[in-house]
Symmetry: C2
Subunit: 111 residues, 2 copies
DNA sequence: ATTATAGTCAACTAATTGGTTGAGTAAAGT
DNA sequence: ACTTTACTCAACCAATTAGTTGACTATAAT
């Protein structure tokens, strides 16, 4: 694992450790939208949401495109995949026995 | 999603956002061990590692058992599973096309 | 031309984080 | 009995975070 990969995991997990940011991610999974639109449901200033978006953008989780006077944001999957890949190494600790068995059998089928 | 589930995700992702703590998790996946043993590879004080371990413990990621003068730590899978479950909702954003196709075909087979 | 909208930027604040050191405690080894 | 080991605890420090407000810029609508 390279130092950059470590830093990427740092920023991905850190970005996802805030409920507001996870809500933004969830919202963006339903489709691209603007900052104002994203900010509307939250009981905080536009500046605050803009900062959260900046954190997500710095972590590579969202892409922000300036279009006229609006900022259009969309979700990027790569860092999420890396996070899942890392977590998957500990599958044996979190997969329940039934799932584990199912996977084991599925694998045997392919052999 | 309850407020407690949100708080659990907060602390799980936050705990995993630090490289030292991820290294501890990785080490514990290989088996239970003590604090001193965990601390040995790191270039920081035992107190610092103890604090990291406390963060992991508070997040429910590790169990610390006092045994004589040593603390024995082991990894708990439940919070990791919850984190993976949350991330899995955004599967479509991080699964590459090949995987997506494979899954699509596998599903058709079952229909 | 004026006004409203969408957003940035800088400055400030309070709380949290990740580390340190030094002192202390409790268990185990000699 | 003494020493070493395995820690904990409290105090401190510097950096970061999550929020605020007020002033500003740029684009779009009337």
């Amino acid at each position: 694992m390279t130092v950059q990969q470590m830093a990427q995991l740092d920023s991905t997990f850190s970005a996802l450790s805030d409920g507001t940011r996870r809500a933004i991610v969830a919202r963006l999974a339903d489709g691209e939208t603007t900052l104002s639109d994203l900010a509307a449901p939250f009981d905080m200033s536009l500046t605050a949401v803009s900062k959260h978006l900046r954190v997500l953008s710095d972590a590579g989780l969202v892409d922000i495109e300036k279009r006229g006077r609006t900022r259009h944001c969309r979700l990027k999957g790569a860092p999420i995949k890396e996070a899942v890949d890392w977590l998957s190494k500990y599958e044996s600790f979190w997969i329940d026995r039934f799932d584990a068995l199912a996977r084991h059998l599925a694998k045997e089928d392919n052999d």
